[in-house]
């Protein structure tokens, strides 16, 4: 009771901060070890035909190379046009790097991840969390002085304002599904969506800019007698392998 009183009266706040700061590296070390075990376990249990995957990825790589060269020429063209129009250069984005120190803690229902950075480092609720590839993996839902809690994009209580990169640029809400995949519901029947379409952040959330990749459509559910269609989305990042992430600061 005394401890709870001391906590809420903030008398032991410096001591708590010291404990959290000094224990975070230990937790991170432990988490890295278990993450390595998880990765090797996943590799062992993955029984897919690797040669078929390599073949498929080679085809995709060739497509991406040609797309990349086309985009590069478009970027150059864009720069030239911007200079002609005297556009302001796009603002540089600020990031804060953070280590993952625990996955969900002891709470069986949390589906969250803890980071070793908090309000002291400028983090607050609503900021986007990115993987090393630059894909959005979740957002901050709670922040203390030295630690913060993020919900991953596949967690049931994680919702992101999303847009489909199709002809219509359909917008909607991407929500986690049981910690396994992401779903996007209430897409109008008239919208043309297909497997492989990329889902990005729509920019309708205050702290999350447009254009961050959420995932790729893996399944479309469309019934002619229903008003809406829905899509299942797979994240392009392995969400179970996160050890270091970056938080996009405004």
């Amino acid at each position: 009771m005394l401890l709870i009183f001391l906590h809420f009266s903030k008398i032991i706040l410096p001591l708590e901060s010291f404990i959290l700061k000094s224990l975070s590296p230990l937790l991170n070390g432990m988490y890295q070890t278990s993450s390595k075990i998880k990765s090797s376990y996943d590799q062992q249990t993955d029984k897919r035909d690797l040669s078929a995957i390599v073949e498929q990825q080679n085809v995709e790589l060739n497509q991406l190379i040609s797309e990349n060269s086309r985009l590069k020429s478009l970027e150059d063209e864009n720069k030239t046009l911007r200079s002609y129009l005297k556009f302001l250069s796009t603002k540089e984005k600020n990031y804060a790097m953070a280590n993952v120190i625990s996955s969900g803690g002891i709470d069986i229902n949390s589906q969250t991840v803890l980071l070793d950075k908090g309000t002291k480092d400028g983090l607050y609720s609503g900021l986007a969390v990115l993987s090393s590839e630059g894909n959005i993996v979740g957002k901050i839902i709670n922040a203390k002085e030295n630690i913060s809690e993020i919900c991953l994009v596949n967690a049931s209580r994680c919702q992101l304002a999303a847009a489909i990169q199709n002809k219509d640029k359909t917008v909607g809400i991407a929500q986690g599904d049981l910690g396994l995949t992401i779903k996007m519901e209430f897409i109008p029947q008239s919208a043309e969506i297909k497997v492989g379409d990329i889902i990005i952040s729509s920019g309708l959330e205050k702290s999350i800019p447009r254009g961050l990749v959420i995932g790729q459509i893996s399944q479309v559910k469309k019934e002619s007698n229903e008003l809406w269609q829905s899509a299942r989305i797979e994240s392009l990042t392995n969400l179970e392998d996160l050890v270091v992430v970056s938080v996009l600061l405004p």
Binding site: M30, Y31, S103, G104, I106, I108, N109, T112
Partner: protein, 176 residues
């Protein structure tokens, strides 16, 4: 005094192991609640006072890393400890594998039930209560299942080393 400090340090080590290592393990292993199992072992092999030190320190440190209301884990762990103690003293006095597994089941169930109830009440007062996530019950069953397996394994190890527990099966060999 030194014994108390050692117990406190070991309890902190247990929390770090639980939050950092176990939470990142693959498959069902991340559902393991080692804190509850270790508390029960201390209660059965040691005494209530030592178990109380462990429960206070573990609860406090878990609460520091938790985003629920401060003190909830501390309270839930201590209530669970007292429930387990009264069951141990009143009913499961033979210290067999079966009584230890029953105790593990009751303790895990009580801990999660109390924690969920407190969380629900706080959300109710704050006006943010909603239905429990569909994955909650499967996670709960997973935790019960993995805790029972871990408790049985630890029981056999401790029994092999210390013989403090009573043997489970009757020896059929005739002794003359």
């Amino acid at each position: 005094m030194y014994r108390k400090i050692l117990n406190i340090l070991l309890a902190i080590g247990l929390v770090i192991f639980q939050l950092g290592f176990i939470s990142g393990l693959p498959g069902y292993l991340d559902s393991l609640n080692l804190v509850i199992i270790v508390l029960l072992f201390i209660l059965v092999l040691g005494d209530l006072k030592t178990a109380l030190i462990w429960s206070l320190v573990a609860g406090l440190f878990i609460d520091l890393f938790s985003f629920t209301l401060f003190g909830l884990t501390l309270l839930s762990l201590n209530i669970t400890l007292f429930i387990s103690y009264f069951l141990l003293v009143g009913f499961f006095t033979d210290r067999s594998l079966y009584s230890f597994l029953t105790l593990t089941f009751v303790a895990t169930f009580s801990y999660e039930f109390i924690l969920t109830l407190f969380n629900f009440m706080i959300k109710l007062f704050a006006g943010t209560s909603g239905p429990v996530d569909s994955g909650y019950y499967s996670s709960f069953i997973q935790e019960l299942f993995i805790n029972l397996i871990a408790a049985a394994a630890l029981f056999q190890i401790v029994n092999y080393i210390s013989h403090k527990f009573k043997p489970v099966f009757l020896n059929k060999e005739k002794r003359i």
